[in-house]
């Protein structure tokens, strides 16, 4: 009886799989033969039942997925509140894999139906992924699409408390939802932990895909990193001398600060524009990795000292002096004493401004435009003009520019050389060089190689092979602000370079690109020193660690990675963002890192542990820029929702003081060494 049953099931299965009659016949014969020859094996009745179940249902596989998922869903929603959020977490991976299974098996219409029925559940959390997946309409797309491919290849890691884990499996067995069980076993890796279920906050890990799986991530994140500031830095020296400062001197310094603020206020009230330039002459130089200069700051003693792994350029004495002077005069910021913000508004950009950069003294402002130009405004010169001649002359000057009578009378220096939109610009710490990155393409041929003929390349994980045989060179260019000329053109990236950043001490710089790599260069070599590869999607932003031994990169794969400059290895992976990372900032003491994403979430990470300390929620749109204050007590964020927000880092609570401005999109924020916050943005027409 049992044997017959099994035979029947097997035969039906084979038929389903498309074996033809002759094959079936032979198999039947074989079966009969074997049965007769061997003694009937005892078959677990439960198993046979399952098999039968499997066989009978396989007639309508899509319905099976649909039913299974909807049952699982209603069960999860109906579960105990305590475990509910953990169980709900399971639903999303099950959902997308069910969908992809259906697509892969060719049930396209059913897959669509399934997708549209349940997508609303996940709309809030995973909108962008869903939008990507929505386009998958044939099995070949699954192979081709990077995202889907990685999803299929890797297992999702879900942390779940033991009890909830048990509950889930009990349910799956009891209801005999074999399909669901299969999906879960195949694509989800459970990481049960004893005790009570965790809080709701950190549940987003489930969705982020990391190459090599969670274990690899854990392994990577266990590596040791030296996050301290550099030994014998200027701050150190200042501290030593600062200890010798008498109380009266300190008071003196305080007074000076007071005066400084006074003058700032005055000039602001007068609407004068010369204020930043006034400082320009004084602090025309390098930023040193800022860190509380005053002995009273708490973190100072804790931050360890590390040796530089790179040979750092030597600073001229007078530059050092001026930096020390600036550090001594730095305004202490906290949630109680907020900084002054000086804002540069770009007018008449015609939607063309892609990026902006401000030199450390605020005297130079650079804008990168989509018409391939890079323009640099010297505020110190303009301040003189305005103070001398007043507004009418300025107007006259601008009229001249419109007429184009006198090129020299342009209020800015124009750097031409790129042949594509300029996506990023970065001033060297001394302000004498600018780096710009763009989508330069020299000799690009539009061969109709797209869509790629062979999906095999992407299946092999070399997605770009199909395209990159074509001669494309994307350049990072180095310009001199003194000579007003292009000095070097660094070729290496094959695709648009999204971001470029000078190291805190100059000389070295890092770039990142659509080709999924970040590269470290030195100014004197046209070849990169290191290539950091590992991100699964575009690398969108790059920042240096204060001690120059690491760089952090943010990517469209929703992870932030920390790379060791010396070895070129990934030493940390930070998982938690739900959308593309747009901005990064490193705290001056080297301990923390902040990252901002497309949704407006800012996350504060502890570099040592690789964990998110606290998500800072407040912005409603893309966070374009982040900046730590000189001593690391405040974090400033600028967003597309036209606001600048200041976050208190030390209290780690979400006490925010927001300053809004209606008409400007904030593109860049930066603290000067004296803790004056510079910002730049585009004026957008009010509707």
């Amino acid at each position: 009886m049992d044997d017959e049953l099994v035979d029947k099931v097997v035969l039906r299965y084979l038929k389903n799989k498309g074996f033809n009659d002759t094959e079936l016949k032979s198999y039947e014969d074989k079966l009969i033969h074997s049965r007769t020859s061997s003694s009937p094996s005892p078959i677990d009745p439960q198993l046979s039942q399952l098999l039968l179940h499997f066989g009978s249902e396989s007639e309508s596989l899509p319905a099976q997925y649909q039913d299974g998922y909807s049952k699982l869903r209603s069960w999860a929603y109906g579960s105990l509140d305590l475990y509910k959020h953990e169980l709900l977490r399971v639903l999303y991976p099950v959902f997308i894999h069910c969908f992809m299974d259906l697509v892969a098996k060719g049930y396209l219409q059913e897959a669509r139906n399934f997708f549209n029925t349940f997508r609303e559940d996940h709309e809030v959390m995973h909108q962008r992924d869903l939008q990507k997946l929505e386009g998958v309409l044939s099995p070949s797309h699954l192979e081709e699409m990077e995202f889907a491919h990685t999803l299929r290849q890797s297992k999702v890691n879900i942390k779940i408390c033991q009890y909830a884990h048990g509950l889930l499996y009990k349910y799956l067995h009891n209801t005999q939802s074999i399909t669901m069980l299969g999906v879960i076993n195949e694509h989800i890796h459970f990481d049960p932990y004893p005790g009570q279920p965790s809080s709701i906050i950190d549940d987003s890990e489930a969705v982020t895909i990391v190459g090599g799986g969670q274990d690899a991530v854990n392994l990577i994140n266990q590596k040791e990193i030296q996050w301290g500031v550099l030994e014998d830095s200027l701050e150190d020296r200042l501290e030593k001398t600062g200890g010798l400062l008498l109380e009266s001197d300190k008071v003196d310094v305080e007074n000076k600060e007071g005066e400084n603020e006074e003058t700032k206020k005055k000039s602001a009230d007068g609407g004068k524009q010369a204020a930043p330039s006034k400082k320009a002459k004084k602090d025309k130089v390098n930023v040193a990795a800022g860190k509380p200069a005053r002995p009273e700051a708490i973190t100072t003693s804790i931050a360890p000292r590390v040796k530089p792994e790179l040979s750092l350029p030597v600073m001229p004495i007078e530059v050092e002096q001026s930096i020390l002077d600036d550090l001594r005069n730095r305004v202490q910021l906290s949630s109680a004493s907020l900084p002054s913000v000086c804002f540069y508004t770009f007018l008449n950009t015609h939607n063309g401004l892609n990026c902006a950069s401000i030199s450390h003294d605020g005297a130079l402002v650079a804008g990168g435009f989509s018409d391939s130009s890079l323009k640099v405004w010297d505020m110190s010169k303009r301040g003189q003009q305005t103070s001398n001649s007043g507004q009418s002359d300025q107007e006259a000057a601008s009229n001249d520019n419109v007429l184009g009578t006198n090129i020299d009378k342009r209020p800015y220096t124009l750097f031409r050389g790129h042949s594509g939109p300029v996506y990023s610009a970065s001033f060297s710490p001394l302000g004498d060089f600018i780096l710009s990155s763009s989508a330069d393409s020299t000799g690009m041929f539009f061969k109709s190689l797209w869509p790629p003929r062979t999906a095999s390349c992407s299946a092999l994980g070399i997605p770009f092979l199909t395209y990159s045989s074509i001669n494309i060179m994307i350049a990072v260019r180095l310009w001199s602000t003194n000579l007003n000329a292009n000095l070097v053109c660094y070729k290496g990236h094959n695709y648009p370079v999204w971001d470029v950043q000078f190291s805190p001490f100059g000389h070295y710089f890092a770039s990142c690109s659509h080709d999924r790599t970040a590269r470290v260069w030195s100014m004197d070599r046209v070849q990169p020193l290191r290539i950091m590869a590992g991100h699964l999607s575009d690398v969108d932003c790059v920042r240096w660690h204060v001690n120059c031994n690491y760089i952090a990169t943010g990517s469209s794969d929703k992870t932030v990675r920390l790379w060791d400059i010396q070895t070129g290895e990934c030493v940390r992976i930070f998982i938690g963002h739900r959308s593309m990372i747009l901005s990064l900032a490193m705290s001056p003491d080297g301990r923390y890192m902040a990252s901002g994403d497309e949704d407006g979430t800012i996350m504060m990470w502890d570099l040592a542990t690789g964990r998110c300390i606290t998500p800072l929620v407040g912005h409603t749109s893309c966070v374009w820029t982040l900046a730590f204050s000189g001593e690391g007590s405040l974090l400033a964020s600028g967003s597309a929702d036209c606001s600048v927000k200041l976050w208190d880092v030390n209290s780690s609570t979400k006490t925010t003081k927001s300053e809004e401005k209606n008409s400007d999109t904030k593109l860049i924020l930066q603290f000067s060494r004296r803790n004056l916050l510079f910002g730049a943005g585009v004026f957008s027409k009010p509707s």
Partner: protein, 549 residues
């Protein structure tokens, strides 16, 4: 289910000439097309993010196509986001309105204005955490409103506008009502008592400053549009006058907008379209207005008065301009004070009188109106010159007339001759009234009595005056003038030093210039006394005239 349907593919196929597309092929192609489009859009969004924008443009799609090494679709790139329109009857179907354009119209159209160049503006977003209330920063109410997350609305695309500061301020309802009321009164009921009340309110109320830009705009607009409406113009000038009187209003920033309108009311060719319109009165009124403005804001705007005088002088010296315009210019200059008159009108008086004289005569000008106008101008000149003289008589009672006379002759550089000329004239032709003689003679006699004493200072003054006469700069010239007058007085009265050596020099100079300027001088004098004979005297302060009498 999917966005791209089988039918879509069929339609596209037909549009490119494939008629025999099998349904299977269409069915197979449709999902792939959708997938590719989605892929491109995804890349385009990446490009958009890196351009730091939140609105997708055609450029982003092009960039995405380039990333994929596909030739971009040319012709759609625009820096502005596309304007989508909703298809009627479908809630989720949008299209770009792509209307046909006549090529001829495009080629013949004038070139558009060059786009404005990018510029950078610096301001304080916050000072120690507090946002200052400056025009660049939005007011507190606007901030509160914006946090509600207002959606940006698509606006019809206009020509490129120079984006100025995003000045936003909120006018209270009361102020709006007030403004509307004033506008109504000014435009329609300028004769009523209510309007007078309104003017008084404008001159005294303290909370009107927010309305000032609107008033400025209103005045400028209305003046340029309604030059034929006399009543309205007068009402507008009264409004300006009242605003000027108001102590709580800071007019300075708006002067550059107001001045053109005011000057228009002063020197326009026609003000009002009826004969009965007393535009002379309006010009007088406006002249005073201009003078008041120059007095009040001259120290803030150093170039204000020079610019005004330049404009007026231009109108005055242009013979092609109509007489009412001359009148306005003269009135304006006269209102600016005797110094301006002395420097700008008197030197040009003689040539001007030559032009004016035929207009005033019955035989020269048949048109009654024109003749009347000429007389008006004459009156204005008389008034101006007389006031100027009056001023001098008051200032230098001891030596009144030679001073006036010498000033009159500044540009002729015959300061020394003047006195003798007058004397000669007085002696030779006696057709003028005795009053004149009385007025003129005493100082002249004194001069001649002084003999050489008077000649020396005059001579020295002549040298100094040259420099002054060269420039029209009111301030410098005038101060120089007074200084010289003092110079003249001191050596003239006290010093006889260098008398001998300069006397010979002086004699030759007098002779040389005397015959050269003979004709001019006598003509000037004749016209001068013809014009101002009686009038001059009326401006002489009573004690002086009594003394002379």
């Amino acid at each position: 289910m999917s966005v791209v349907q089988k039918e879509t593919i069929e339609v596209i196929a037909q549009s490119i000439g494939i008629t025999n597309l099998s349904p299977d092929a269409a069915l197979a192609v449709a999902p792939d097309v959708e997938y590719r489009v989605r892929e491109i859009m995804q890349e385009a969004i990446k490009c958009m993010r890196h351009s730091k924008r939140i609105v997708l443009t055609a450029e982003d799609v092009d960039a995405a196509l380039k990333l994929r090494n596909v030739e971009p679709i040319y012709g759609f790139a625009s820096n502005d986001p596309l304007r989508f329109k909703r298809a009627a009857g479908h809630h989720d179907l949008f299209y770009v309105n792509d209307c046909d354009l006549e090529l001829k119209n495009i080629t013949e159209a004038p070139l558009p204005r060059a786009p404005l160049d990018t510029s950078v503006l610096v301001h304080w977003l916050a000072i120690e955490g507090v946002q200052p209330s400056i025009p660049e920063n939005p007011p507190a109410e606007a901030l509160a409103a914006s946090s509600d997350g207002k959606k940006l609305e698509c606006k019809e695309e206009g020509p490129p506008i120079d984006i100025k500061l995003p000045v936003k301020h909120v006018l209270s309802r009361e102020l709006q009502l007030y403004f509307d009321k004033i506008i109504e009164l000014t435009t329609h009921k300028s004769g009523t008592v209510l309007f007078k009340e309104a003017l008084r309110s404008l001159a005294t109320d303290s909370g009107l400053h927010p309305l000032l830009p609107y008033f400025t705009c209103f005045v400028a607009d209305e003046v340029s549009r309604n030059l034929t409406k006399f009543d309205l113009l007068f009402a507008l000038m009264r409004v300006v006058w009242s605003v000027l009187q108001n102590q709580h209003i800071h007019l300075e920033p708006y002067l550059h907008q107001l001045m053109p309108s005011i000057l228009t009311c002063l020197v326009a060719k026609r003000l009002g379209n009826r004969l009965s319109d007393n535009h002379w009165e309006l010009r007088n009124f406006t002249a005073n207005l201009v003078a008041t403005i120059c007095r009040r804001f001259g120290h803030v705007y150093h170039n204000l008065q020079p610019r005004v005088t330049r404009t007026l002088l231009h109108a005055f010296l242009d013979p092609t301009k109509a007489l009412p315009q001359h009148y306005g210019a003269i009135q304006g200059l006269a209102a600016l004070g005797p110094r301006v008159v002395r420097l700008l009108i008197l030197p040009n008086l003689l040539p001007y009188m030559q032009l004016l004289e035929p207009e005033m005569q019955l035989e020269g000008q048949k048109n009654e109106i024109k003749r009347q106008e000429a007389w008006r101008v004459y009156g204005a000149l008389l008034f101006a010159a007389g006031q100027c003289m009056h001023d001098h008589l008051k200032k230098f009672p001891s030596l009144p007339l030679p001073m006036t006379a010498s000033t009159l002759k500044l540009d002729k550089k015959v300061a020394t001759i003047l006195s003798s000329e007058i004397l000669i004239y007085k002696l030779s032709c006696k057709r003028k009234a005795d009053m004149d003689n009385l007025l003129q003679q005493p100082p002249l006699k004194k001069l001649s009595g002084d003999g050489s004493m008077g000649a020396i200072p005059m001579n020295s003054m002549h040298g100094n005056m040259q420099g002054v006469a060269g420039g029209y700069n009111a301030d410098g010239g005038v101060s120089g003038m007074t200084q010289q007058v003092q110079n003249e007085n001191t050596p003239g009265s006290s010093s006889t030093r260098g008398k001998a050596d300069s006397q010979a020099q002086n004699a030759s100079l007098v002779l040389a210039q005397a015959w050269k300027d003979d004709t001019d001088g006598s003509r000037l004098l004749s016209s001068l006394f013809e014009c101002f004979g009686d009038g001059m005297f009326s401006f002489t302060p009573a004690p002086e005239s009594l003394m002379f009498l």
